[in-house]
């Protein structure tokens, strides 16, 4: 059985979503199976048209910091979150959405990129998968 990585994406900050997707893609590229659990602020990024909308976790300065970082990323030819997400799905990565977050934040299935999500779940599914994983992270 292949090794497994299980990531919780709790943050909706742009830089942290980048970290999560880069690690997820890296693990898939190294031959692991990967599941990413989107919860709380992370889940907000799965809303239609919201993937790139997160602020910077530090020095956002009302969006100015984010704009500057994005300019530097463009110069360095860093892939967009959209591309990383598509690559992640193409390599067989799984996306799971926390249904409790959906309930408390009033997020409906039709608000989300349902085509990306393979399962709506709660903590039990995460723990079951995490306990058989070789790598698990909370981002």
């Amino acid at each position: 059985m292949p090794e497994k990585a299980t990531l919780i994406v709790h943050s909706g900050d742009m830089d942290k979503v980048y970290s999560a997707l880069i690690i997820g893609n890296g693990a898939l590229s190294m031959g692991m199976e990967v599941s990413m659990y989107f919860t709380f602020w992370g889940l907000q990024r799965l809303k239609k048209g919201s993937l790139e909308k997160g602020p910077l976790s530090k020095m956002n300065f009302g969006g100015l910091g984010k704009w500057m970082i994005q300019r530097k990323m463009k110069k360095a030819n860093v892939a967009s979150l959209e591309k990383l997400f598509q690559d992640y799905l193409e390599l067989g990565g799984k996306i799971l959405a926390c249904d409790m977050t959906m309930e408390i934040m009033g997020v409906k299935k039709e608000d989300l990129r349902d085509d990306w999500i393979s399962e709506y779940c709660a903590v039990g599914t995460y723990v079951k998968e995490a306990r058989e994983s070789n790598l698990t992270l909370f981002i």
């Binding site: 880069i22 890296g26 898939l28 590229s29 190294m30 031959g31 030819n77 860093v78 990383l84």
Partner: protein
């Protein structure tokens, strides 16, 4: 046996690694995947990924900052 070319010149982390994996998934056993790129760390990490998947790096060379890695599926 086909030769599949992957051009990752000027791409940065994690694109060379991801594009290599995408090509290897699509390749048939026996096919050769040839990756070229400029991102220095990927030159080191692509062979690590190849080894982790139990595949073989046939050759590796670098000319003027552009590296080429040949992988057999």
């Amino acid at each position: 046996m086909a030769e599949i070319k992957v051009n990752c010149v000027n791409e940065t982390c994690p694109v060379p690694l991801v594009e290599t994996r995408k090509a290897l998934r699509k390749a048939s056993p026996g096919d050769i995947v040839v990756v070229t790129g400029t991102h220095p760390t990927s030159k080191k990490e692509i062979p690590m990924a190849v080894e982790a998947m139990g595949l073989e790096v046939l050759s590796q060379e670098e000319k003027k900052g552009v590296w080429t890695i040949k992988i057999k599926k």
